[in-house]
Symmetry: C2
Subunit: 343 residues, 2 copies
DNA sequence: AACCTTGCCGGCAACCTTGCCGGAACATAA
DNA sequence: TTATGTTCCGGCAAGGTTGCCGGCAAGGTT
């Protein structure tokens, strides 16, 4: 039975009850060598009885580390939720607690989050940068304090830190090549914001696929718009009103694929016969709509886990190279929206 | 220009540089009365120059509060993500940091999370209980320490704490009444796990609607299954193989609605003509599938905000009644899946 | 007999901040 | 003059923990 005290027991309480010094109790609890077996047993049994739990604050203050990781992400959509779950999984296992802050894709909010987490004295950061972020001063403060940082998913060359990400270029390539192999001739791209790395990489993959298959790149078929269903809807309208109208669209995210699909339907276009469609992320919704949308699957949970693992390695070995770059691989999930032949 | 020191400046540094005592610096920084204007200015300007930031750990240790809220949730699906965003919003504003832990609907994990958050010395908890949870011993530890707790969304009578939730009964009622008004006669329910409060409340609403419209309750039309697309799929199969087959289904969540829809389609049943369908949560996906699924909308973001607000009130006024119960209202979003008449 | 080892333990300081008390210097009132 | 009040400041302790050092006794080594 634990004694019913409103205040948790401390080392001091144990010392008093056993008439020994604080130091001895501390040593006994941490299995330090120079304590007699007898007193150690006494301390251990009493500490159990009092339900003693070391005070994390005091420990952190003393040892200058909090066993807490600050995680900054732009939002909590499907992809990032999965990644956070992965981070959580590994962090918990390793004895770390995670503080998740959403920037809501806002630059100002990202600065505020960084600030707050620094004040909270987290031991380091795992970051996926907001799409609005173009300046990186606020992250410099982290590295000034010499805290470990790992970036994941939305990485940026402006922040030199170990990173974990998808091979986005490969993803863009396989989506585009698939459309080409299905016989589509004029393939358009709905890309994300121009400064967003993942979007540009996927776009690169698209270009490579065209090149490999000797299709001339048409800049007019590349549209940048916000990572958003509504923007994609209007961007698709624009594409479909062109004279040299595309016969397939590759969208850089599934949200955008949904927007594109809605516009196509409204225009009375049939997928995949009139026009093909491939999205990115393989969110569950792609399999539920009609027609089901082909999409590039990314191993979100694994990316999260890898990021946390890399963080902990970096942590334990502070001098590790900042050039470590872990790259995970996408997989194309083919569904109706792009299956022209076997339809 | 901030001095470039690897270790953040402390009150001690300021005191040394100005040749005054720690106490005086502390007072000056906190606008205490008994400091001369002259020294106050000196302290303030130097503290700015050194980029002084009070050490949260020392403060927390001294004042016995961490300005951190522990949030325990079963997962990070659409609904809970929105709620967490609401909590975050209000907490940030009020100067609190949030630690989010997912139990993954696992009882053991929920215990572990509670344990960890208690060790982290959070100032209190905002909790939505896992569907697996039937014992509440682990939460008692929180209340033993006299920490404030607010429960939200998935509340339980076994935990006496202020709560924020949807009027689930009203939601169940409006969904069912809508189906009745559309002329459906045999309305089945796919309910969640039997010990889950929100599911039972929605079920109550269903029963009330039947009663109001003088329809006899048929227990065979009520099926309990896991909050899950696949289970719902098989449960629907069961419903559709009955002799007295239902002509409409109300599912307690949109995930389940999706599962039900898939099975119906496979059976060749047309919605809404052959069979009606209404879901719950109004996840975006319900508007995207074909036919679009009617659903009961809940104000997730607002529920999150309300929970955090209630927490902070409870915090500031520890003796507040544990009986406060904030209830938010649902709204039926009618789509094709249940629109028999105007179709 | 003088010395060194070994095993065990307590005291002190430090991490950083604040609350409380007392005290010095000066001004005002009786 | 003495008593009382004001203004400003420093010292000390506390919050809980650990690292470092020194100390004491028992036993072993030359």
């Amino acid at each position: 039975m634990a004694n019913h005290m409103d205040n948790p027991a401390t080392i001091k309480d144990i010392a008093k009850r056993l008439n020994i010094s604080l130091s001895t109790v501390s040593r006994a609890l941490r299995n330090a060598p120079d304590v007699s077996e007898e007193t150690r047993q006494a301390v251990l049994s009493l500490s159990q009885e009092l339900n003693y739990q070391p005070n994390r604050l005091a420990l952190s203050l003393r040892q200058n580390q909090t066993h807490t990781i600050g995680v900054i992400i732009p939002n909590l959509d499907y992809v990032l939720s999965q990644m956070v779950r992965g981070i959580d999984e590994v962090a918990l296992e390793a004895g770390y607690t995670v503080m998740v802050c959403q920037s809501n894709e806002s630059f100002g909010r990202e600065i505020l989050n960084t600030q707050r987490l620094l004040e909270s004295l987290v031991d380091g950061f795992i970051i996926s940068v907001s799409s609005e972020t173009k300046s990186f001063e606020h992250f410099k403060k982290i590295q000034d304090r010499n805290l470990p940082v790992v970036v994941f998913d939305r990485i940026t060359p402006h922040l030199s830190a170990p990173s974990v990400r998808l091979d986005n270029q490969a993803g863009g390539f396989m989506a585009t090549e698939h459309l080409i192999e299905q016989g589509y001739k004029k393939i358009a791209v709905l890309a994300g914001p121009e400064n967003l790395g993942i979007s540009n990489s996927r776009l690169e993959g698209y270009k490579h696929a065209l090149k490999k298959h000797k299709i001339k790149l048409d800049q007019d078929l590349i549209l940048h718009c916000d990572f958003n269903q509504d923007y994609a809807y209007y961007a698709t309208l624009e594409l479909l009103s062109m004279k040299k109208k595309p016969d397939a669209i590759f969208t850089i995210s599934d949200r955008m694929a949904i927007g594109a699909m809605q516009k196509k339907k409204k225009k009375g276009l049939q997928m995949p016969t009139d026009i093909g469609l491939v999205g990115f992320n393989n969110e569950p919704v792609t399999g539920l709509v009609t027609p089901a949308i082909s999409s590039v699957e990314m191993p979100c949970f694994e990316i999260g886990k890898a990021a946390a693992k890399l963080f902990i390695e970096t942590m334990h070995n502070k001098e590790s190279a900042t050039t470590i770059e872990k790259i995970l691989h996408p997989k194309l999930i083919v569904r109706e929206s792009s299956l022209k032949f076997s339809a």
